[in-house]
């Protein structure tokens, strides 16, 4: 299946990253996410970091089972990407910023 890209120029991107404090994968995910956003969404994104070690109940909101998990809230539809986002290609596909090859 080849998803359509959601480039949405000018559209505000609202991203939530669910982390477990400063666990190695959580740190890597935030670092990788920041880099991807700066390269592809500069000036039109916001990242909210949800530390589930502090408040695990918030996992229910987006049905989080593994950490780290990135959730794209806006633009719709909602998308989830599990993992440390080290695979940039997969992250871009998951966010629908590029098409699957």
């Amino acid at each position: 299946m080849t998803p359509a890209t959601t480039d949405g120029a000018g559209e505000k991107w609202n991203l939530k990253l669910y982390t477990a404090g400063q666990s190695p994968k959580s740190l890597a995910a935030l670092d990788n996410l920041k880099r991807v956003c700066e390269q592809h969404l500069a000036g039109r994104y916001s990242i909210e970091v949800i530390d589930l070690l502090k408040n695990p109940r918030l996992a229910k909101d987006d049905q989080i089972v593994a950490i780290p998990t990135l959730v794209r809230k806006l633009p719709e539809p909602l998308r989830r990407i599990v993992g440390d986002l080290s695979d940039t290609e997969r992250t871009l596909v998951g966010l629908q910023l590029t098409q699957r090859k």
């Binding site: 959580s26 935030l30 993992g83």
Partner: protein, 221 residues
């Protein structure tokens, strides 16, 4: 209509399958290090490395600020104490450049420190608080691994010294408790440890009383 419903259900199932496959792939590639367990995903977080949980508790309890940043100085993690020092909500600190909380005059030194921190492991700078005031702090490099720097931030205002002393005593007390358990069968060692413990408790009381007399318990900010 039936065909439309069927296609909608099929699309939903395909999406759920893709999500499950995504979780499986991330786990097998070692890209996750924690899980949410419990009914409806509302339970607790299970970390794959238990040792990290203890480290985490220590970081949250200590009176020093703690920050993990990228080599370029972008904040990836900060503890509540660091947030209190700046007077800025924790949520706003993620991904922010550390240098934006340091006066312009200190930024070049901070940048150099982050670049060569393996050699030069501490630096004293001012931190700019949200209310416009600054506080002197010492940044110490706790570790540098995987391209990330873990920094400890010590408030150098004199009123924080008793806090630091109490922290140090608390740390010694915990170590002694561990030793006491390990040496349970050695009476002389236990007596020696008890004496040291008494002296530490005495010192802690003295510091507490000094603070009470001066009427200035250390503030949390």
């Amino acid at each position: 209509m039936e065909q439309e419903t069927f296609e909608k259900e099929l699309a939903e199932l395909r999406e759920r399958l893709e999500e499950a496959e995504d979780v499986r792939r991330a786990i097998t590639r070692g890209e996750v290090d924690a899980f949410v367990i419990g009914p409806g995903g509302s339970g607790r977080v299970l970390l794959l490395a238990n040792a990290y949980q203890r480290y985490r508790q220590l970081v949250e309890r200590m009176s020093q600020g703690a920050v993990t940043s990228t080599g370029e100085g972008h904040i990836l993690f900060a503890n509540q104490r660091f947030s209190d020092m700046l007077g800025i909500p924790l949520a706003q600190l993620y991904t922010a450049p550390l240098e934006s909380y340091v006066p312009v005059g200190d930024r070049a030194r901070l940048s150099t420190f982050l670049m060569v921190s393996a050699r030069d492991s501490r630096i004293e700078v001012e931190l700019s608080r949200r209310d416009g005031t600054t506080i002197p702090v010492r940044l110490s490099l706790a570790s540098f691994a995987d391209g990330y720097a873990s920094l400890l931030i010590t408030d150098l205002r004199p009123m924080q010294w008793p806090n630091l002393a109490l922290d140090a005593l608390d740390s010694i007390r915990r170590s002694l408790e561990g030793l006491n358990r390990d040496l349970a069968g050695d009476g002389r060692a236990r007596d020696a440890l008890r004496n040291i413990s008494d002296e530490i408790n005495g010192l802690a009381r003295m510091i507490d009383e000094m603070l009470d007399v001066e009427g200035r318990k250390p503030s949390s900010a």
